[in-house]
Amino acid sequence: MSTAFYNKFERHSNGVGLKGHSTHYCAGCGHGIVHKYLSEAISELGIQDDTVMVSPVGCSVFAYYYFDTGNTQAAHGRAPAVAIGHKLANPKAMVISYQGDGDLASIGLAETIAVAQLGSPLTVIFINNAIYGMTGGQMAPTTLMGQTTSTSPDGRKQINGQPIKMAEQIAQLDGPIYVERVALFSPAERNKARKAIKKALQLQKEGRGYAFVEVLAECPTHLKITPDKSEKWVKENMVPIFPLGVKKDVDVEPWWDIKEPIFDSEKILGLIGGTTEKTERFCKEFPSHIHPADISLKLAGSGGDGAQTAAILVTTAGINEGFDGTHIPAYGPESRGGTSYADVHIAKTEVLNPASPLPHILIAYNAPSLAKFGSSVTNNGFILFDNSVAKEFEPADSSIKVIGVPFAEIAADLGKMVVKNIVSLGALAAATNIFPRETFLATIKQALKDKASLMPLNEQAFDRGYKAAKDCMQTKGY
């Protein structure tokens, strides 16, 4: 009979002596039988080269001693999570998550359920022997009521909960396509187990979906009975609690057809918006009349004012002109509604600190923002505010220019409140001469991308803001 076992178990005590050809399992353990059926199925299906066997933590931690396939050993309970990582890395791989009851039904419950629900083609073999083997006979999630273990010395009681029925749990999920519980205690049951294991692999091979086979297995050592009695024990005690049979078997057409990942520079640039097109520059020099090296702005309003968008536009405009620029949005829950403010820096060569505690320029979209930040503006700075919603502001120093422009009123007049922030940028350009009009319009155009039809409206908004600011400055004699 052909199998996918190694000829010699080199990893078992370095293959020295008898260990080179015998398993580490105790006499009569069900693991060995399941290993054999799995190994035969791998061989019969011709998938040995493609198979990745994921060994869990538990007695089968050393499954990789035996299977002449790719092998990965996972952390306790994480085998299905690791398995899906392998499957997505190589969708053509045949990935088997082989797990015991502590691994699958206790510590790894979240991963077990979540990966089953994904439904990606994967084969999960679950060895349920109602006890913890590797750690020495402690209570498992599948330990039967009244069953004595080293951590349920007086028998499993109500306070320990009842044995968890994984096959039924998995079968009620939408993801899996095939779930069966089998056993090893008789030739007839072993035959069903062998067939179920092969079917679970076949379904993965055909790209149909996730399959789960729960095997009721014997642990004579920790049941403290002979192997033949442990077979009887499983039949008489486990089967009534864990009924055998197919729990789910749905017909699914092969669907797992995953394309090769794309590594193409045009594709990436297209997605992230990288462009080889030179952006036009309109600035003759850095606007050093505001600050010789680093101009700091604060844009403040409430959610919906467009302060962040305006901030990004100013930053982008600066970078398009070949300067450095940064933008920091108001940080915290208020960025999801309520107050919204942004710190922006435009620097000749490098923005050192991107925060704007003492801005050269403040744009305030409402009265609270004006009140909160108005007095932080540095001498010789600028305060631009929406005078359709806020009253005139007295600056801390007479060198600070305060320019009121009805951002909201102009936007309402244009029929689109969303252009309120563009009005404010027009006002910014007029009041501070930070960048020429063309710089702003080119940046707005770039940001609108495929919504170029909105450009005339934005241009109008910008110009209205520009004019209103100029008018105000003239009135105030700036």
Binding site: H21, C26, G85, D228, P261, L358
Partner: protein, 462 residues
Amino acid sequence: MAQKAERPKPYLVPEYCKGCGRCVGVCTKGCITFSEEINHQTGIAPVKLDLEKCNSCGLCIDACPEPFSLLAVESGETVDSKNPAKLFLDKKNDAIKPIAIANQEIPMPKTEPMVIKGNYAAAIGAMIAGCRHMYGYPITPSTEGAELMAKFLPKMNGWYLQAVSEVATINHMYGTAGAGLPTMTFTSSPGFSLMVEGISYMVGAELPSVIVNVMRGGPGLGNIAPEQSDIKFACRGLGHGNTHAICLTPSTPQEVLDLTIEAFELAFKYRNPVIILLDGYLGQMTGKVNLPTHLNKPGIPEWAVYGDRAHRGNLINSIDLAEPDLERRNEKICAKYATMKAHARADNFMTDDAEILLVACNTPARISKGAVQNLREAGVKAGLFRPITVWPFPVEQLKTLLPKTKQIVVVEASAGQLEDELRLELNKAGVEKLPEIRHIRRMGGNLPQQADVVAYVKSIAK
């Protein structure tokens, strides 16, 4: 009778029989019996076979848990139990020596500078580095990175898989990394805590991965504002065992992009996770970013368990029951740590004649940079030493500045985690004469403020 004779009969190799007797009960002909005769090689009494009545039903072979104990022998075949080549019958060992498929560099056209935020810069860097497998669990303030990957990766036939938890995330990464492919995640402090078990496994199993931790206020649920809360954790506490990983601390979106690309190179070079520590402020910070000249198309390393013929013989694990084996594994890993020290890196700003040396990384470094500028304007000889790697700590670079340094001021958004690294590494480097070490620390989501740094340094400047 002729038909039956063609089916295989059992052949017992007594050395590999554990005497469990699962075969005994299934034989309806009574061919197999328990024996009390102990095999002197195993100390176990194997079963006994008397095949006179055997009808070749094969049930005993099906019941045997051992691969090589009860063999199926085809009619006419003979078994030589002393000759393993014949003993294991038709099983051929045809695994081939693992081979490596090399990475490919794909040129990128020269593009205009982009305007992107720190979290996006990390995501874009990962895509350029060839990462097509991103796993994650949403957590503020790191989510934008994951969202960008979720949007773009499927368009490049890659995967964004939202895991059931950070524990699952790091183990999805373990699987993909085990297959030899670049993989990464975005997380923030509480999520990072959940990942360290998996990071320890990755270090043990020598798997590459990149973890972007956009640090936030702690401990516990803390808040979502920026803190450098995980420096100690990332440098000294990556799970159980002798674990370390290169920890990169960028301070601008450009550096986030560049270091993310480099992080993948380092992860594969050393077969070890690489941690990128951002703070929430930097993650949200938008800035100017130039793209590199190449993107990477990853190959498959020799060691990978990819699930193909070329890599069938490989194993990813971190278990060594024999103490000498585990000590050897640790020694190998520690030797890698020693070579990683060559990647210790720092950036100096106005340090040439600095008497007061600010030390800061991430956003506090930018705040300090602004402060240094102010201090210089006020005539104070201040400079900034900015570690770009906090592990390995750039202690050699720092040492060269010490002769002129009268005072060190560590500026950080934590309770002295960076300062601890600095003191520990100076101590390990045998620096006996230390300048006075002072600090400015903020916590709870507050960053040190430029004005406060300036005022403090002025107050200590003599």
